[in-house]
Amino acid sequence: MIVRILGEGQLEVDDSATDELNVLDSTLERAVNAGDEPAFRAALAALLDRVRSLGTPLAEDTIEPSDLILPFADADLEDVREMITGEGLIPG
């Protein structure tokens, strides 16, 4: 599958990593819902680090939609809230 980390680009990640990433994603989700900023930061960093270490960057001239899109590394809780409600963050 193709995973995009916003601000960094796209990576090809083997489908076998799905379960592991889902676990990390659930932790992130809980932190977002709880409004727990430190937990959120840790969970986001963990998820992104895992994707970076598992994935291989796509060639720059590849034009393919991603299967999953992850927030940028220095996003805060508010950024992610806006991102998942589609409020204003994504231009166009």
Binding site: L6, G9, S66, I84
Partner: protein, 274 residues
Amino acid sequence: MKGKVAPMSVMKRVSLIFKSKANKALDRMEDPRETLDYSYQRQLDMLTQVRRGVADVATSRKRVELQMNTLQQQQTKLEGQAKQALGAGREDLAREALSRRAALQTQYTDLENQYHSLQADEEKLTAASQRLQSKVEAFRTQKETIKATYTAAEAQSRIGEAVSGISEEMGDVGMAVQRAQDKTAQMQARAGAIDELMASGALDDVTGTQRDDIQAELDQMRGGQDVELELERLKGEIGAAPAKEIESGPAEDGGAAQTSPARPAEQPQAGDGS
């Protein structure tokens, strides 16, 4: 918020938002091939925007760099003043100069952090700009191929893929530019405040009293010392000169002291010889 939305993951929700944006772009056109041209035009606009973003961040970084240099010069000056003051036995003045230097160091550290942050943004945006550039070029080739080879109906799925792929990239880059611009604007405001401080002289003089009063006092002190030294030198000169001159007229003493400061080094030998 927690109820129905909660089961869906962050990754999926972010992805969905992007996809819906891409789909809107696709739905806008009747002939899918028009979508290609429209999208390409927007890509070119976005490239211009990213490049402008990179330039803005670079300008901001350079401004911070200049301010760092100024602050550093100021710190060096204050350290010199502290040494000078200590040498003259004025520990109070030295202490004052050093405490001002410490205050500037705080400002400097703040600027240094801004500098590194802007540098990182610049690198990220430059990379994003290169990625987009490669994709735009690839898109242009695909666009021409699709237009030349396929009928409108056949082209649809290929166009869908290319357009959603590229609009995701543009969404990403657009966000990055936006963030960089917001941050740059904040830093410009802070940089402006520091420029004003520098212009007002408040950074020379953190205590907010008189402008560079340390230097004034040091100058005054040194002025005083110079006079003392000069006096000593003159006394020495006169002492070394034939004793009768001193005996004969104290009025000449005054005359020598008046002319002497102008030519401190040459006067003794020339005067003695004649």
